[in-house]
C-alpha cells in the first residue's frame, strides 16, 4: 500500500509541475500574440471568456505573479481551459472532449496489442537461444529506428494509394452519422486499421527486444536452474519462473515509455488526419491557437499520468516485494 501511496504522491507532484510549466511558458515568451488576437476579436468575446484568458495567459501586467498563479489554478480547477481562437467561440474543453476518446481508443488498443504480442515473441526468442530467431534482431532494429510517421507514410502509399485497401485519412466515413450502429463501428474499425497497424509494427520491435534481454538475464538466475532441477515442464519453467520475473522490468519500462508512445501516436494522427487529440494539437500549433495548445498539453499529460498509475497498479499486483509493509 505504501508503494501505491508514494507513487500517487509523486504523480500529484508531477501534475503540479506540468501545470506550473504550462503557466510559465507564455509568460516567458517575448512578444504578446495573445493580446493581439484578443484585440482582433474584441467585440465577440464575453467578459467571462476574457477573464479566463487573462488568467491563463497572464495578460494583465498589474496583477502580481503569485496572484496570477492562484488565479491560474482556480481557472483550471473549475474546468475552464479557455476559449479556442481557431474554433472561436468554442471552449477548449469541449473540443478536447470530442477528440480525446478517439486517441485513447487508437493508442490504447494499438499499444496493448503491440506490448502483448511483443512480449510473447520476446519470451520465445529469449528462451530458445542460439536459434534462427536470433537473426530477427537486426530486422526489428531497422523497424524500431524508423520514425513512426515515415512508416505511416509508406503504409499509406502502399496500402492506400497503390493498393487501395484502406483509406488514407480520416477516422470514419464522413457520410455516416456518428452513433452506436454496426455500420458506424465497422467504419471506425476500418479507418483505424491502418493507423493502428503502423503503430504496432513500429513499436513491437522495442518490446520484443526488451523482453528478450530480460528473459536472457533472468534465465541465468538460480531459481530457474532450481525449477529445471525439480523436473518441472518446459512450459512451467518458461512461464512461471522466467517470463513472470522478466516481465516486471518490462512493465516498468512500459510505464516510462508512455510519454514517448503518446508522442509517436500524436504524429500518427497528424499523418492520417485522425481526429484525435494529436491532430488537434497539430492544427492548434499551425493556427497559433494558444489556448487550445495549452489545453491539449495538459490533457495529454494527465492522460499519461493516469496510464502510469494503472501501470503501477499492474506492477504492484505482479511483484509481491512491493507489498512489503515497512
Amino acid at each position: 500500500m505504501r508503494f501505491i501511496g508514494r507513487r500517487l504522491a509523486f504523480y500529484v507532484i508531477t501534475l503540479w509541475a506540468a501545470v506550473t510549466i504550462n503557466f510559465f511558458i507564455p509568460r516567458l515568451m517575448p512578444g504578446d500574440p495573445v493580446k493581439a488576437l484578443i484585440a482582433k476579436n474584441q467585440g465577440r468575446i464575453s467578459t467571462d471568456a476574457m477573464d479566463s484568458l487573462y488568467a491563463l495567459f497572464g495578460l494583465d501586467q498589474q496583477v502580481p505573479l503569485w496572484q496570477q498563479y492562484l488565479d491560474y489554478w482556480r481557472t483550471l480547477l473549475s474546468g475552464d481551459l479557455g476559449v479556442s481562437f481557431a474554433y472561436f467561440p468554442t471552449p477548449v474543453s469541449d473540443l478536447i472532449n470530442q477528440a480525446l476518446p478517439w486517441t485513447v481508443g487508437l493508442v490504447g488498443v494499438a499499444t496493448i496489442i503491440s506490448f502483448v504480442i511483443g512480449t510473447l515473441i520476446g519470451t520465445g526468442i529469449g528462451w530458445r537461444r542460439g536459434t534462427w530467431a536470433d537473426s530477427l534482431l537486426p530486422i526489428s532494429t531497422f523497424f524500431s529506428a524508423v520514425p513512426y510517421f515515415w512508416l505511416a507514410l509508406i503504409a499509406i502509399f502502399v496500402f492506400s494509394v497503390t493498393l487501395g485497401w484502406f483509406p488514407a485519412s480520416g477516422s470514419y466515413d464522413r457520410s455516416l452519422v456518428p452513433g452506436w450502429s454496426w455500420e458506424f463501428v465497422g467504419s471506425v474499425i476500418y479507418y483505424g486499421t491502418l493507423p493502428a497497424l503502423t503503430i504496432v509494427i513500429s513499436s513491437i520491435a522495442g518490446w520484443i527486444l526488451g523482453m528478450r534481454n530480460m528473459v536472457v538475464t533472468v534465465s541465468s538466475e538460480d531459481y530457474v536452474t532450481v525449477a529445471q532441477a525439480k523436473g518441472l515442464s518446459e512450459r512451467a519453467v518458461r512461464t512461471g519462473y522466467a517470463a513472470r520475473n522478466a516481465v516486471l522490468p518490462q512493465v516498468s519500462s512500459f510505464a516510462l515509455s508512455l510519454g514517448f508512445i503518446v508522442g509517436g501516436t500524436l504524429i500518427m494522427e497528424m499523418v492520417f488526419s485522425y481526429q484525435g487529440i494529436g491532430f488537434m494539437l497539430f492544427n492548434a500549433v499551425n493556427a497559433k491557437d494558444y489556448p487550445l495548445m495549452q489545453g491539449c498539453f495538459l490533457v495529454i499529460t494527465i492522460a499519461v499520468l493516469v496510464a502510469n498509475i494503472l501501470a503501477d497498479f499492474v506492477y504492484a499486483a505482479l511483484d509481491p516485494r512491493t507489498r512489503q509493509e515497512g
Binding site: V226, Y241, N245, L318, P320, R321
Partner: protein, 366 residues
C-alpha cells in the same frame, strides 16, 4: 600430453558395496569453441546407499561443477565430454543419467536425486509463495495429487525442517536466510529422493545457524535414510557429519577416504596441508601453515600432477606423470581408501621410467 597410470582408474580400488550413485570418468569442458577449458578430467566417485559423502576443496576446484555436471544442471558454456553417471534404484535397476533423453531426465529429477542449491538468497522464485514452490515440484511428478493435497504435504515438509506451516503463504523475501535454506531442504525432500546433493548449504549462514542446519540434516538422514553428497570448502564441518570425504583439487579427486582417516591420517600432500591450516580448538599452540602459491589456471594446465608447484613432496616424476587414484602405499590402511599421489604409486612411476620416492612420514601416519 599426460600419461595415465597403467593401473587404470579404480580397478585396484575396492568397489563400494551397494552404490546408489556412481560417477565414472566424467569429463567436463567449459566453452564450446575449439579451445575449451577442461575443468574436470576423468573424475570418478561413488556414493554408497545411506552414506554421507563429503566433497571438499577450494573455490574453483570443481566440486560444484562435478555435482552439477552429474545431474546435467551445469549452465552454458558447460559441456560434458565423456563418462557415465550411474544411478542405481532401490529395486536394482541402473540408469546412466547422461544418456537419458529430456523427458526421462525430467521424470527422474527430484524423485531419484534432489539438489539443495547454494545461496538460497536467489534460489527461490521471488514472485511465488513458498508453499506453491514446494507444491509444484510435487505435482510435476505426481499429477494425480491435487493442489490441496500437495500443499498439505508441503506443510508437513516445513514442519520437518522446523518451520511453522503458516509460513506456507509467505514470499521468499519475507524469510530470513536460514529459513530460506531450510525451505530449500524441505523442497528437496518433497518426493523422498534417494540421493540429496547439498551444495554449500551453510556457507552463507552464521555459525549458529550452520550448526542447526547440519544437525537437522543429520537427523533427517537418520529418519528418512537418504544418501547425501555434502559439498563444502569447510573440511572441519565434514569431519563431523560425513562418513567419507573426497578432496578435490584443480578438477581432480586427490583423496577419497573415511572421514576420520582423512582427519587423523591424511595420505595426500594437499589433504595434509589443508588439515594443518585449521587451528585445533584444543591442544598445544602451533604455528598455522597455509599452502604457498595459488590454484593453477585450468586453461594452462601442463602435464603431470596439478599440485606439484605447491607440493612439499614433489619430485621429478610429478612433472610428467599424472597420478591416478590408487590405494595408499601404507601398510595397514583401510583398503577402501584411495589417493592420487605418485609417492604412493611406485608402479606408475617406474613404468614411466622414473625412480620412485618413498612415502614421506607426514603422509604415512598411523
Amino acid at each position: 600430453m599426460t600419461l595415465t597410470t597403467p593401473a587404470g582408474h579404480g580397478s585396484a580400488l575396492v568397489p563400494v558395496k551397494d552404490p546408489v550413485l556412481e560417477i565414472r570418468n566424467l569429463s567436463v569442458d567449459y566453452g564450446y569453441d575449439a579451445d575449451p577449458v577442461h575443468v574436470l578430467r576423468d573424475v570418478s566417485l561413488t556414493l554408497g546407499r545411506g552414506e554421507v559423502l563429503g566433497l571438499a576443496g577450494e573455490s574453483g576446484c570443481g566440486k560444484s561443477t562435478l555435482a552439477y555436471a552429474a545431474t546435467r544442471l551445469l549452465p552454458p558454456p558447460g559441456l560434458i565430454t565423456g563418462g557415465e553417471v550411474l544411478f542405481t534404484d532401490r529395486d536394482g535397476t541402473t540408469t546412466d543419467i547422461l544418456r537419458l533423453n529430456d523427458t526421462q531426465l525430467r521424470a527422474s529429477r527430484w524423485q531419484d536425486l534432489a539438489i539443495v542449491f547454494q545461496g538460497a538468497m536467489n534460489s527461490l522464485n521471488p514472485v511465488f509463495r513458498i508453499g506453491r514452490q514446494i507444491a509444484d515440484g510435487i505435482r510435476a511428478h505426481r499429477p494425480e495429487v491435487s493442489q490441496q493435497e500437495a500443499l498439505e504435504r508441503s506443510a508437513e515438509l516445513l514442519e520437518l525442517v522446523g518451520i511453522s506451516p503458516d509460513r506456507l503463504r509467505s514470499y521468499p523475501h519475507q524469510l530470513s536466510g536460514g529459513m530460506r535454506q531450510r525451505v530449500m531442504i524441505a523442497m528437496a525432500l518433497a518426493l523422498d529422493p534417494q540421493v540429496l546433493i547439498m551444495d554449500e548449504p551453510t556457507t552463507a549462514l552464521d555459525v549458529v545457524m550452520q550448526r542447526q542446519i547440519v544437525e537437522q540434516i543429520a537427523d533427517l538422514r537418520d529418519r528418512l535414510g537418504f544418501s547425501v553428497v555434502f559439498i563444502t570448502h569447510d573440511v572441519s564441518l565434514l569431519i563431523e557429519i560425513a562418513d567419507r570425504i573426497a578432496i578435490m583439487y584443480a578438477g581432480e579427486i586427490v583423496e577419497d577416504a573415511p572421514a576420520l582417516d582423512i582427519y587423523h591420517r591424511p595420505r595426500h600432500p594437499y589433504s595434509s596441508a589443508l588439515l594443518h591450516s585449521f587451528p585445533p580448538l584444543r591442544g598445544p599452540r602451533r604455528e598455522l601453515s597455509g599452502i604457498p602459491g595459488s590454484p593453477p589456471d585450468l586453461a594452462r594446465l601442463g602435464a603431470g600432477c596439478p599440485f606439484r608447484d605447491r607440493c612439499a613432496f614433489a619430485f621429478d616424476a610429478c612433472a610428467t606423470v599424472d597420478p591416478g587414484l590408487t590405494i595408499p602405499d601404507v601398510a595397514g590402511d583401510d583398503p577402501r581408501r584411495a589417493v592420487a599421489c605418485l609417492r604412493h604409486d611406485a608402479a606408475a612411476v617406474r613404468a614411466a621410467g622414473f625412480e620412485p620416492q618413498p612415502v614421506p612420514v607426514e603422509l604415512s601416519l598411523r
